[in-house]
């Protein structure tokens, strides 16, 4: 009796709250809106029907346990009823606090976290890493051009010739490595950017409602808990990590000058190297590029790795918390 009152009240709260966070029928979708695809068939109604079905099943099992005098079935039914109550509490808490959490984090970030994350990644990819890769590639081409330059004294049939900058091929290999490294980093960051778009599109609109429905059924409880944890982690924690990265980068790291040098710079370097062959002109460009890559590594490699570590640690722990029986221990 007590349980049924609690269930009714919580469902009323859920329904009222859910109405406020359901996505509209057509885009643009506000942040943190939960799917409306199920709403018309009604994912809240699906949840209600699922709970009813499970309670019906448990009632049947309870009756059979009394008929056949099976105590273990009776205990199992009581456990499952308790689990249904826990599921309802989780669902209602999620729905009630979801929009509050999103609003709080949007206020903390100053804007939609996804927008900030996209801008940060785009700036990192297109203004920094790809520029650096292009810079390194151009220097490599310059070094190879210089290495192939041949100085001929006298006619070809009677003279002396030599490649005065042949050693620059080794420097070109260094630039090639930097180019490959930066191009790889860019690709990784692009994948993360695309991943963010995918998460924004389907985490709260498909994954979360599915997870909620799955958590109700005994044999799908862990899967449901995992889906709920995954959607929360990907939609809330992951973009916030990028917001934190942007704040760190803006306030702490120096602005890296990554504009591409004009064509005249390369021509001047080429001519200077021809005139003074043993001057280490190429080293200056190499050291500068290496220094810039070193500054890029915290923001392009270390911080994104940390984002993934934080997000997946959160998902693992949240899935364990959401699937536990609150008493059997961790």
């Amino acid at each position: 009796m007590k349980i049924s009152y609690i269930l009714i009240i919580l469902f009323l709260l859920c329904t009222v709250r859910a109405a406020g966070i359901v996505c509209p029928a057509t885009p643009p979708y506000p942040p943190c809106c939960v799917s409306s695809e199920f709403w018309s068939g009604g994912w809240i109604y699906l949840v209600f029907i699922s709970i009813t079905l499970v309670i019906l099943l448990l009632s049947v099992v309870y009756m059979l346990s009394k008929i056949f005098v099976k105590h273990e079935w009776e205990i199992w039914v009581k456990d499952e009823m308790y689990q249904i109550l826990i599921s309802v509490v989780i669902i209602s808490t999620l729905i009630i606090v979801l929009s509050i959490i999103c609003e709080v984090f949007t206020t903390l970030a100053g804007n939609d976290p996804f927008l900030i994350a996209h801008n940060y990644l785009n700036s990192l990819i297109w203004d920094k890493t790809l520029n650096m890769a292009t810079n390194a590639f151009q220097y490599s081409v310059l070094c190879q051009l210089l290495a192939a330059f041949r100085l001929q004294i006298g006619p070809v049939s009677l003279g002396v010739g030599y490649n005065q900058q042949a050693g620059l091929r080794a420097v070109a290999v260094c630039f090639d490595f930097i180019y490959t490294f930066c191009a790889g980093i860019s690709a990784s960051l692009m994948v993360q950017d695309i991943g963010l778009s995918i998460i924004q599109a389907f985490a709260f609109r498909i994954m979360l409602p599915l997870g909620i429905i799955f958590r109700i059924f005994p044999f799908l409880r862990k899967a449901g808990a995992f889906l709920i944890a995954l959607s929360l982690g990907l939609y809330i924690v992951y973009p916030l990590c990028f917001v934190m990265n942007k704040m760190i980068v803006d306030s702490v790291l120096p602005e890296i000058q990554l504009s591409l040098p004009p064509l005249e710079t390369y021509v001047e370097t080429f001519l200077t190297a021809i005139i003074s062959p043993f001057m280490p002109i190429a080293l200056m460009g190499l050291y500068t590029v290496m220094n810039q890559v070193a500054f890029l590594i915290p923001q392009a490699l270390f911080l994104p790795t940390l984002n993934l570590v934080i997000t997946f640690t959160f998902i693992k722990n949240a899935a364990r918390v959401l699937s536990q029986n609150f008493g059997e221990g961790y």
Partner: protein
């Protein structure tokens, strides 16, 4: 001496609007939720909920203890590391890495000049022709039979070896530059952002593991990593003093005459210490990384974090 790290050094600043307030608020909110769960457990006779609430209360107290003793704890550990290092570990580590970069840069420059000289020498070509007059009865012809000779073309093989050493030195410099930038990054960022965020996240049960992991990363990066770098610098200095005393290698000293005489033995002997240098710097670099990561894993386990975070990092 004790208060090396002031409250302002670990202030959350803009991000959390003052992490102290946020951490205390988070603790109070968690306490409220647990108290509610405990009341429901007592009221409705749900023993499992009661047990869960008791467990969570214990975790809240641990988190509160961490918040309350944070500054003192970090200061004590930092004072110990100052004692071990003989000064501020971050500054000493940074200075050690700068010394390694300076030494390696000198070798890099010398090797580049040597490589340029070797490249020019190995491509030197003398071309000539022999005119052969042909005097037939009617027409006078001169046929030129020409050829060329590259006396030092064989040095191209040596040049390939020098190229490899050169690239290896480049990789060494890159690794050292990254170490230096990481040290600066850790000094500026870790205590201000990661540690307060970790404490905040540790307060709530759903983010407890991630918070514990962040705290472990913060302490490991700020305290263990500089000590590991200092330790590896000492290993490098000791090894260099024993195996390659004095100048680790000056190929330019053997630049001109020996190679023209096709005597490359001295050149190879001179390059060997450079390779040894690379090996020891590479080993010390990985050693400092391994020490840091192992410490972070142990700390993460002790603080309730996830020690298996490196499996997750492979995803990147």
């Amino acid at each position: 001496m004790l208060l090396q790290i002031a409250l302002s050094d670990i202030s959350g600043g803009i991000f959390l609007g003052g992490w102290e307030t946020a951490a205390l608020t988070a603790l109070l909110v968690s306490f409220g939720i647990i108290a509610l769960a405990f009341a429901i457990g007592i009221g409705f006779g749900y023993r499992e909920l009661e047990e869960w609430a008791k467990n969570e209360m214990y975790e809240i107290f641990i988190s509160g203890l961490i918040v309350g003793t944070l500054i003192g704890l970090i200061n004590i550990i930092f004072a110990m590391s100052i004692n071990l290092a003989g000064g501020n570990p971050l500054e000493i580590a940074s200075s050690n890495v700068s010394s390694m970069i300076l030494e390696t840069n000198g070798l890099f420059l010398t090797l580049l000049q040597y490589n340029l000289y070797l490249g020019a020498l190995s491509t030197l070509k003398f071309s000539f022709f022999v005119p052969i007059p042909i005097i037939p009865p009617v027409v006078f012809l001169v046929i030129r039979i020409g050829s060329f000779v590259s006396p030092w073309a064989g040095l191209g093989a040596l040049m390939s070896g020098v190229d490899s050493v050169f690239n290896v030195l480049g990789a060494m410099i890159a690794a050292l530059l990254v170490e230096q930038v990481l040290l600066s990054f850790i000094k500026l960022v870790i205590l201000k952002y990661f540690l307060p965020l970790g404490i905040l996240m540790r307060t709530f049960s759903i983010t407890r593991v991630a918070g514990g992991t962040l705290i472990a990363i913060a302490i490991g990066a700020y305290i263990i990593y500089p000590l590991a770098v200092i330790y590896s610098w000492n290993v490098y200095s000791q090894f260099k003093a024993v195996s390659t005393p004095g100048n680790p290698g000056d190929p330019a000293g053997h630049m001109i005459l020996e190679n023209i005489k096709w005597d490359i033995k001295d050149t190879i002997n001179t390059l060997t210490p450079i390779l040894k240098n690379f090996v020891i710097i590479g080993i010390t670099f990985f050693l400092s990384i391994i020490i840091t990561f192992s410490s972070i894993r142990s700390l993460a386990g002790a603080l309730g974090g996830d020690p298996d975070l490196f499996g997750l990092a492979r995803l990147i």
